[in-house]
């Protein structure tokens, strides 16, 4: 299907903000994460403003290896995504509900049920961000010394997704008859055993739940390495990216479209949403001050960890924050793309560890008055490389309030944005229902 001719927005769900020190900002709500009423209010604000989806990131461990710096961040304490989104479902009416879940530490039958249940409960608004897990501590919560290797993770993920789709399809549309007179509740001719026997999973099926309203909940993916991008090209419907420049975003889109075509799919069936971390204030100068203030609220231990945890296996504890990053290689079993991006950034501009961490903690490219932020968004949209943005508000609720009240109306006036139409998430994204 053709891509929508206007921008769409998803929002990362945070309790107090996406910036690592966002919770400390004077106008942030530090207690939001476990406060379901706070999540409901924010979900409704974003839904009313025309956001297409809420997206909950997830890691099945505390989000970083060492407890030394972690206790200074919100990344050690968050609700399980599907549970949270299920609670939001009856409190909202249109916005999509996208939960992250890993294929490395779940069983396909359990996940297929959960997403199908969320899709039924929400009337067809569920999405699944398929990840393979990268944070080292996750493995240790599931009896493993370390994650499966990078290639094996993705091979497993590919089979996992096939099984889940097979389970969703193990009850055909219209299987639920519920005819009191004949006593037939489900049409046995529309229910199938799956009998999947693969390299990683053996699953009989059928699923114990009618086909989801969307056929298949929408699949989100964020593969960035060549293996990850090939996987995204095969199964992803909305791709999250984190490009460090517009040039990189354009390059990613070109490669992805080629990969999607090579996988036998139509590039028109895939949406790309890079991350956006806007700071909106009355003037550009005030917004820049907020960004600097957020940076100053990051403890030195956290700055060091920010780079180290996203980099690889080296120990950074003896490195001086105000010296340039030493010359490390690119190989890692962690996120290859993230390490490579950090290395390129550090070398290209001869950044110190502190400067690199500050860069990494916040993108400075959409910081300004509402018109500045809108201009920037419009410029990226004009490249044709993106279909929307995955917005992470640095601190909450203020930045969500300002973005929806000030930036979206400007984009709407320029004809670049309008609230989505359709009831299911799939319809809102302009994506075909799975046959």
């Amino acid at each position: 299907m053709p891509r929508p001719d206007h921008l769409q927005f998803g929002a990362l769900v945070h309790g107090s903000g996406g910036h690592i020190a966002g919770w400390r900002h004077p106008r942030a709500n530090p207690d939001g994460e476990l406060d379901i009423d706070f999540h409901v209010r924010l979900a409704r604000l974003l839904e009313d403003a025309g956001f297409t989806a809420l997206f909950v990131a997830d890691v099945v461990a505390v989000w970083g290896h060492q407890l030394d710096s972690l206790h200074r961040t919100t990344r050690a304490d968050y609700l399980e995504p599907i549970t949270l989104l299920a609670a939001l479902a009856p409190q909202t009416s249109r916005i999509g509900l996208v939960a992250t879940a890993t294929t490395s530490y779940n069983e396909p039958y359990n996940l297929a049920r959960k997403f199908a249940s969320l899709d039924h409960i929400s009337g067809g608004r569920a999405g699944w961000n398929v990840v393979t897990s990268v944070v080292p501590l996750e493995a240790a919560n599931f009896g493993r010394a370390e994650h499966f290797g990078h290639a094996e993770r993705y091979a497993r993920a590919a089979e996992f997704v096939d099984v889940v789709k097979g389970l969703w399809d193990s009850n055909a549309d219209g299987a639920l008859i519920r005819d009191k007179a004949s006593g037939v509740y489900i049409d046995p001719a529309r229910r199938f055993h799956l009998d999947h026997r693969g390299e990683h999973f053996t699953v009989a099926g059928p699923l114990n739940l009618a086909r989801p309203p969307q056929g298949h909940p929408v699949l989100f993916q964020a593969g960035a390495s060549p293996t990850g991008r090939a996987f995204a090209a095969r199964v992803g419907e909305v791709i999250f990216t984190a490009p460090v420049s517009v040039a990189e975003a354009v390059d990613y889109r070109t490669r992805l479209d080629a990969d999607v075509t090579a996988a036998g799919r139509d590039p028109g069936d895939v949406r790309v949403w890079p991350i956006l971390t806007p700071i909106v204030a009355d003037t550009d100068a005030e917004a820049a001050e907020i960004l600097a203030e957020l940076g100053s609220l990051i403890h030195d231990d956290v700055l060091r960890r920010l780079v180290q945890d996203n980099f690889g296996d080296e120990d950074f504890s003896d490195l001086d924050l105000d010296e340039p990053l030493p010359d490390f290689g690119t190989a890692t079993n962690r996120s290859q793309s993230r390490r490579a991006g950090l290395l390129a950034l550090a070398r290209g501009e001869q950044l110190t560890l502190r400067q690199l961490a500050l860069r990494f903690s916040a993108r400075a490219d959409t910081v300004g008055a509402a018109t500045t932020v809108a201009d920037r968004i419009a410029a990226v949209w004009a490249t044709g490389a993106v279909d929307g943005f995955n917005v992470s508000f640095p601190y909450l609720p203020e930045q969500a309030e300002r973005f929806t009240a000030e930036v979206l109306p400007i984009l709407a006036d320029r004809g670049l944005f309008r609230p989505p139409t359709g009831t299911t998430l799939r319809e809102q994204l302009g994506l075909e229902r799975a046959a």
Copy 2:
């Protein structure tokens, strides 16, 4: 703590009723299972009437081995319990939310998070019905030819529960500080690695979520065999039972109290809730008619399967429904207690397969006018063997409406029932918070 001096009630969550043909009753809602609005209305009705908890049963497969008869029942199509209860949490304010989850086909880290999340979202109303799985088809959805053996299932369950409790405790009470000034979000001295290394599980921890409001969500259990009862005695706080007679209920309580004491716990800390399947009508005769009508709505294939699926591994397809049950032995890897109960019933009264199936499909002991049902409940309560009942309404919403409007007021007038006080489920049950 002392047991409450009055009755408490939990309700099984069903979309159209707990009787196997309940959905076909003329006044049943056949479409309730996937209708979240229906679940919300029913939850509020029960909460307002003073029910203590909602309980969602679960099997991780279609609920019966053969699709031949299953398509005539609702047991092939239901929402995943935690997802459903999370959706109900913000729509209710006081009632407990008890989800079934199996220790055989889950990972402790994932379940610990889900129940902790549900407990946070609901303000301390979560409960976990710990099961080890008995329906054969479940194994095949998780790469196994058959379930772990009966003893191994329970050994695994015991370790599983220990790990989950350890994860809940891996953040001490008050660990969440969220102090903007000092930048300390979580007190590192109140967060612990678990480093569990056991026979079945290796789990590092800590959990990525603050300790649940209840400390530990309440543990429900329904072990019935000696092994199952020993497990219930060690970890169960509310025990579901399905006695076939009052004598059996009294006997179970006596044995359980002894087991609980032997396990080093106080019998006052354990509640016993047998199942109750009331049919309330204007007169006893009318209620009996409804029961007969429900029986007549069960297809012969379903009658046969009802016994076979709860019995063991024998094939019943050639058995005549109107002949007495052949003389089978008691050994099985399925639910031993259930098989033994069925066998005893069939032999004791020389029942045909049809009669046995009809008995099994509905208990006839609380069928009548509201006073009859209240009398019967009062008589069981008077034995001291029970603390409340786990109510399965045969068809919905009518029987829930009649029970709450007609039976509960009689019990309240007699001083046997009053709505629970307290905010958390644990408080409502009169159970101590885990230290």
